[in-house]
Assembly symmetry: C2
Homo-oligomer: 104 residues x 2
């Protein structure tokens, strides 16, 4: 299930930090690695997980791989939250509007 993949991808703090880096701006694996205390394969593995969850996109150029966050990636998460509407009577209505404003 895609929902589970997104939640699982975000459950790891290092992976969230990686996502936040590539959300700030597109970045190569090497530059990304320079910000973390883990090996290059670990970064590549985190990126693969984020990509599998639809949270990042990849652009290949020569021997470099540039990653950036995909803004549509957290949609499944927001959709899941939206399903709490019955539980959160009024508050959730505004979130619904946010979802409508997003690309489908």
């Amino acid at each position: 299930m895609i929902e589970s993949e997104v939640f699982r991808a975000l459950a790891d703090p290092t992976r969230r930090a990686v996502l936040e880096r590539v959300a700030a701006r597109e970045m190569s694996v090497g530059e990304l690695k320079s910000h973390f205390a883990v090996s290059q394969p670990a970064i590549s593995q985190h990126l693969a997980a984020l990509k599998g969850a639809g949270l990042v996109a990849e652009r290949r150029q020569g021997r470099f791989a540039y990653y950036r966050a995909d803004p549509t990636g957290i949609t499944p998460l927001l959709s899941w939250v939206e399903r709490y509407r019955a539980f959160w009577p009024e508050r959730i209505e505004k979130l619904k509007d946010v979802l409508k404003g997003m690309d489908p």
Copy 2:
């Protein structure tokens, strides 16, 4: 970190389903169990994880334990999403309003 606990708690599909049940209405462990194909200890363990993440609250009455979803529990998740503001220029502003409307 509480963020990680929330994401980890929600990463498991059974646990999300449990949370959705107790979000619909307060329920005892036994009744909750009747909706799932896992053992009673498994349900208790899922509830302990959800409680640890602040997603459910417990009410004890005699030999029964009643669980209900805690609406403030997903706040860390929404706060994390809100930190994407720089990445999602306009869309996220509305989500910010949602957070303001919530109990702190």
